[in-house]
Symmetry: none
Subunit: 383 residues, 2 copies
């Protein structure tokens, strides 16, 4: 599907990720000049993530004044002026096409925008074949009020997270996000303060860049969808928030930035940044990443004896472990997963958490899921 015919990146096995990026990548570098030209110098399929904070195409009519008469420092820099939607759309399609080429087949794109541009960006991204995974609302805890009282306070910006295609094996650190959110799934609305205070870069007393993003935003983006050592490309580098957070989190980075002044500010900023040490970078891992253990191996190795009785939480079914690691219940038999599935009449079943057994504990017999034995086995057999 898609209006525009594209070379759809098809599903492939996720390549083994290493901390070593291709030797010809200009890591920790801010490329100068137009970002499309700059990206052309990068090889195909070479970066793990693209984070883009493109110009917003703000259409502010004249100057905006606060009630006290002071003027709002609006985004009126020359790089943000576009004569029409068409020019903005062409610009968007250009940089995004190049970003798509540089991105690995299983890499992901993040773009941030406001209602002025995000609908153009989202549509074009879909037309190019990207597959939207989530739209994320950055809900600002301290937005600028609507001084004139003519609209709702514009209190959020929108991010789009997209993979190269529907079947791509994108990276999502589910467990790390759940941990970060107090053991609840991370939602699509993030409450974060805008960039200010000491974090806001100043030059001669005024803000160095009109739309500097908070580091907390990039922190969450990278923690959620990259691994240590991954390469992050930012085509609109600005003052280098992406680079600073990447360095801190042990990710590699490449930036593109047209303005000499911003490149200067960004490089100085990133040089000052200190990387977190190894132990701090450890995040909660999903069970998906653990090596697979066959239930039969536990029986073979004596962790569970043939003849052991296993049962579900409510003891509705009590089955017996056989020497080959299969279970038997009356005349029905099967693997821990298959038998659990059949007995419940469910579409599927995780036998590791469904079946329990009794074990002697300090205060008498204890009931534990058989998964606890697997954990013990994994610890004991670690290199």
């Amino acid at each position: 599907m898609g209006v525009i015919e594209t070379t759809r990146m098809r599903a492939k096995a996720a390549p083994k990720r290493t901390e070593n990026a291709p030797a010809d990548l200009p890591l920790s570098t801010i490329l100068s000049g137009d970002c499309v030209e700059a990206m052309r110098s990068l090889p195909d399929n070479s970066v793990d993530m693209v984070f883009a904070d493109p110009p917003y195409n703000l259409q502010l009519g004249g100057d905006l004044n606060r009630p006290d008469g002071s003027q709002v420092d609006a985004v009126t820099d020359h790089w943000d002026q576009f004569d029409s939607f068409k020019i903005y759309d062409d610009f968007t399609r250009d940089w995004m096409t190049e970003a798509r080429r540089v991105l690995k087949p299983d890499g992901a794109l993040w773009v941030i925008g406001s209602y002025h541009n995000i609908f153009r960006v989202g549509s074009i991204l879909q037309d190019l074949g990207f597959w939207i995974l989530n739209d994320i609302v950055w809900r600002k805890s301290n937005p600028m009020p609507n001084f004139k009282g003519t609209r709702f306070t514009n209190a959020h910006e929108t991010l789009i997270w997209a993979s190269q295609g529907e079947k791509s094996k994108y990276q999502f650190n589910y467990r790390a996000m759940k941990t970060l959110n107090d053991e609840l799934q991370m939602r699509s609305d993030w409450v974060l303060p805008i960039c200010g205070g000491g974090e806001r870069l100043k030059h001669n007393g005024t803000k160095a860049h009109p739309t500097q993003k908070p580091e907390s935003l990039l922190y969450r983006v990278m923690l959620a969808t990259t691994e240590k050592g991954d390469v992050v490309l930012d085509p609109f580098f600005g003052t280098g928030t992406t680079g600073a957070v990447a360095k801190r989190l042990g990710r590699q980075w490449i930036g593109c930035e047209r303005e000499d002044f911003y490149r200067d500010v960004a490089m100085k900023r990133i040089e000052k940044e200190l990387p977190l040490d190894e132990s701090a970078l450890e995040t909660m891992q999903s069970k998906k990443n653990a090596p697979r253990v066959a239930f039969g191996a536990l029986v073979e190795n004596g962790y569970i004896k043939p003849g052991t009785e296993v049962f579900d939480k409510k003891r509705k079914w009590v089955a017996t472990v056989r020497a080959d690691g299969s279970l038997i219940y009356g005349k029905q038999m099967g693997s821990i997963h298959g038998l659990g599935k059949d007995l419940q009449g469910a579409p599927s079943c995780n036998g590791w958490t469904f079946w329990h057994f009794e074990q002697d504990g300090p205060g008498g017999p204890e009931v534990k899921p058989i998964d606890s034995v697997r954990q013990t086995y994994l610890l004991a057999t670690e290199d």
Copy 2:
């Protein structure tokens, strides 16, 4: 600006609004058949607001099961099936063009969608010449989780509020919104629960419509951007939430709906709906222009005595008025808005209508909202 040349509706003085709609408008009617055809029967420049909840084009894969094995009842209805983005875009452009014609020059369009369709919708709306005023995020307080742990919980939907053009004199009831939001400017992110419980329409025990919207959402939309007597058109009427809320708030409504069954359900629903009485509506109307009155001023001026007991309609909570105009309930205290909000656990609360008190009347004690005291105060202090 705009890719497509359109007849831009230019700024005009807002026409004097009356409660009498053009005589040839089919008010309180659900037009049958395709919504584009149905709208063709309506005259140019005749409705004050269009609220549209079009199909989202979800593009779902196979079945989805919860961790407990139960199956998610997905939206797989034929009306949500489109073969390509191009077909969806054409569909969108068609209904929106017709809606634009029917809409008055100073009228406004509201559209709701998710990331599947909202970027297409937003782009096309801009191409047609609509001027986006806000994008509003409906943050669901109780969304469905992401059962497989593959993405962020999709916890919001997006609404776009747009005028016919940049210079249109659209309606925005700033003060009503501020009052509704505990005397803070209403923000672009609204926390509201999804439609469930007694509000969710059922047919033979199952939901009558897969995507029924909560009345609170439409309530806020209409309270913010229409006046009493305004005509609201909903091209995707479904079970008639727009009609029901319009009737309650004293707005006129016209719906379009293809499915006989939904039209039946909607008509029966709206017939049962009771309009708010004049005084309640007058109150809301007057708020827009009324000078702001602090509850504390009423206490200061003796309209309400400190120590007065105030309570919600069901008398679940009985609080006491303190000298500074704050309320106290047990150990909790706050403004009339803040305490009401906290006790209910609601995102916001209009204390003026939430809290009531007893007053001696001709036939014994009467229960009145504290807002009635504000009205008395305003009358007494007029010039």
